[in-house]
């Protein structure tokens, strides 16, 4: 871990935010920034979550993905329960600095609490097939969520 203290810069001008080298993330009115996580090996989208300032600082300092869980209302070191830690290979920020992209290696090869490799295991039919049922693109679970999480509350909000 670095001895350097991570400081986020104030957002002053569009040029600074879009074309500069200052890290000046925009946290929304809930104090959160969107995070998008892809697999370094396959390029596949694994999950989309949120970070608060603390989660972003810890991700930068430790090189392991930290998020903020909206359902549990707490800092979330991904993999602390399941062991499926995400090692950050690259961390990117977008043009207006309201989204963070994590490119990660996943221990165990799974990222989804339902047990699949990715959270995105169903396709929405489009065009001529619009309106048809969702299609499963991944039918095999990498782990059994009941074994891993036991009776912990399911994070899905209806």
């Amino acid at each position: 871990m670095s001895e350097r203290t991570i400081e986020f810069q104030q957002r002053l001008t569009i040029e600074q935010v879009e074309e500069g080298t200052d890290l000046a993330p925009r946290f929304d009115d809930r104090g959160l920034i969107t995070a998008v996580t892809t697999d370094a090996a396959s390029g596949e989208l694994l999950m989309q979550g949120y970070m608060n300032a603390e989660a972003l600082r810890l991700t930068i300092e430790t090189g392991e993905a930290h998020y903020y869980s909206r359902s549990r209302k707490t800092l979330w070191h991904k993999g602390a329960t399941s062991g499926l830690v995400q090692k950050v290979r690259e961390l990117m920020v977008d043009d207006d600095q309201d989204c963070i992209w994590l490119i990660v290696d996943v221990a165990g090869g799974a990222s989804c609490h339902v047990g699949y490799r990715s959270c995105f295991y169903r396709r929405i039919p489009i065009g001529e097939s619009a309106g048809k049922p969702l299609e499963f693109t991944d039918t095999e679970k990498v782990f059994d969520p009941e074994e891993v999480y036991g009776d912990a509350a399911n994070p899905t909000i209806l």
Copy 2:
């Protein structure tokens, strides 16, 4: 375009939402769902935006990416101004159906209003390098935003 009318299902149970074939997206209190867009050819993350129900319906029906612009507060057919339309190759939904993943072909090869190929053209140093300035990973713009957008308002919110 399909004659079938797209209907989103009501969210009734966690099993239906996570393990079923109903499209039952969760729009937040602003009426929006997160959208993540990657390039079909390179796998690169191009942008992260939002859709309202109308944008999602139009994306499904037309096979072209539609978003909701929070800064302009309006439906946004991506590429309508710049010509950089996104043709949807695959459309995916995540476990709890609060995020849509678009895998697209981009006419012109650029997706970012700043002119870069992707909105993610800067790396955040991590670990030992934590706290150092952002590093540009893409230094060449694909187009000149002033030529394409003229004096239209910049969508970045400070």
